[in-house]
Amino acid sequence: MNRNLVLGAGLTAIFLLAALLSFAWVPQDVTQMDIANKIKPPSAAHPLGTDHFGRDILSMIMVGARTSIAVALVAVGIGMGLGVPLGLAAAARRGGWLDEVIMRANDLVFAFPSLLIAIMITAVFGASALNAIIAIGIFNIPVFARLTRSGALSLWTRDFVLAARVAGKGAARISFEHILPNVTNLLIVQGTIQFSLGILAEAGLSYVGLGAQPPTPSWGRMLADSQTMVSFAPHMALFPGLAILLTVLGLNLMGDGLRDVLDPRLRRDRQ
């Protein structure tokens, strides 16, 4: 069994379970303020300490995981849902006007890093978690479109696709029957990478106030709140940051592990 995959999937599973558990139970209600117990370092009652409103940081991290995971997951969904069909279509009509339009549109989106998209959306509609999803999701579209297209282009030159054309199958049918199943490995690996980038991006947007708004707990906001207090309450900055680091690390390790397991070329190399 692949070590990266086990370690990565384990880390990811911990945060997924924490997020799910938070719907049913958290150590302390995160909407309850407890000013008497504010800015307490880790103790038996509060394993990760409390913040400037006396809220339990462990509970905040558990609930914040929901925001991070939801935003990143939906953004990957948007990227895949639109990017993959566009990439398949571009490859099926390679060199044609459709290919040209799709690739130029991709170049255009690449010129707007997700933060710029978020800035534009926020400037007009205000900040929210939904806008963060849209900004990250839009940026994911060209990533998946390019990946799908380049994977599909090399498959279109293969003889089995020619055989399907000889059998009278059209471009759409070939794309779904022969191309898509052979690019899913690429997509799964890229999906975990974009998922982890999405978590980083959401944290960044929330940190500068362009993402989730209070009272929705989010890791990025927790870090923003802790910034002025970092000199005397380092635990407030430490634990949310570690949560981001470990989740992203877990997803990246899982991506690497999946690539090794799924790519038959690498598998042969290892033998």
């Binding site: 255009l108 690449f110 944290a203 960044g204 106030g209 970092v230 680091l245 690390l249």
Partner: protein
């Protein structure tokens, strides 16, 4: 060669043009009446009219777009509503912080990543490789603003080697200015260097498997000579692509990092403009950042041609 540059230039201009349309439409047309948007719900009708007049909002959208683009082409970015100063002047002040920061970070990341990536590839599977891969795995996963906060805690608050934030200004001397950009640049560079080192390593490993490296070895080159003379330049092509893409992320990342260190750069300007609902400033700064990203990618394309004779075409 000329044809290659010509084609790239055309695509650069088209991308910028479409980008300007997208920005204009989303910031000036989508919100409906920008004047009402900027002044908020309680604005008086006569203040609104005055603002519309000032911003030229009484003209049609097409005319406003042409004015905006035409103005930018001659360096006129309009006047900020909140600051009552020309946007061009504000941007110019801020670029003096943001651009050196991005270049500083890019230089650092390249200087770290190249040796690390080459070293790891040359020692594939050995402890050095495993160490580089482990460290870069962490570097990719770390949120840069959190890393920045930790560095402030350690190097500014505890060790007092650096200031916790703020910019000394270029008037204070080159080294003082660079010193205040150092922690931000490291924070920006670390994740980028990690990505770049990993790309460098895997690209080099791919190239080392190519037939022409085997040919070089058959000529009597050592493993090291084959790597430096034949594999490295071929491995640079994907690395260049990533450097180009990273520039976009550095610009974006700088917006966040400037907030950690209270640096008076473009990023701070954008956030001030958003909270003041100063659409003119947002519009111009976003356009400028897009221009920078597109320009860098154009330069990367030129670098491809410099590296790869196949792109230069037959003579």
């Amino acid at each position: 060669m000329l044809r290659f540059i010509g084609k790239r230039l055309v695509s650069l201009v088209v991308t910028l043009w479409v980008a300007s349309l997208v920005i204009f439409l989303s910031l000036e047309v989508v919100p409906g009446d920008p004047a009402a948007f900027m002044l908020g719900l309680n604005a008086q009708e006569d203040t609104l009219a005055a603002l519309r007049d000032e911003l030229g909002l009484n003209k049609g959208a097409v005319e406003r777009y042409v004015d905006w683009v035409g103005g930018m082409l001659v360096g006129d970015f309009g006047t900020s509503y909140t600051y009552r100063t020309p946007v061009a002047q504000m941007v110019l002040d801020r670029v003096q912080v943001s651009l050196p920061l991005a270049l500083y970070a890019l230089t650092l990341s390249t200087l770290i990543a190249f040796p690390a990536g080459i070293w790891a590839a040359a020692r594939r599977g050995k402890p050095a490789d495993i160490a580089v891969m482990g460290v870069t795995q962490l570097g990719v996963a770390i949120p840069n603003f959190w890393f920045a906060m930790l560095m402030v805690l350690v190097f500014a608050i505890n060790l007092r080697w650096f200031n916790a934030g703020g910019f000394a200004g270029w008037d204070a001397g080159f080294f003082a200015a660079m010193k205040s950009l150092t922690l931000p640049a490291i924070a920006l560079a670390l994740p980028q260097a990690s990505i770049l080192a990993r790309v460098m390593r895997s690209s080099l490993l791919d190239t080392l498997n190519e037939d022409f490296v085997r040919t070089a070895r058959a000529k009597g080159l050592t493993r090291g000579q084959a790597l430096w003379r034949h594999a490295l330049r071929n491995a640079m092509i994907p690395v260049l692509t990533i450097i180009g893409l990273q520039f976009a992320f550095l610009m974006a990342g700088a917006i966040i990092i400037e907030n950690v260190f209270f640096l008076p750069g473009l990023g701070r300007l954008v956030f001030q403009a958003i909270s003041a609902r100063d659409l003119i400033v947002v519009e111009s700064v976003v356009m400028l950042l897009v221009f920078a990203v597109v320009l860098v990618n154009f330069l990367v394309d030129l670098a491809y041609a410099a590296v790869d004779p196949r792109l230069r075409g037959r003579r």
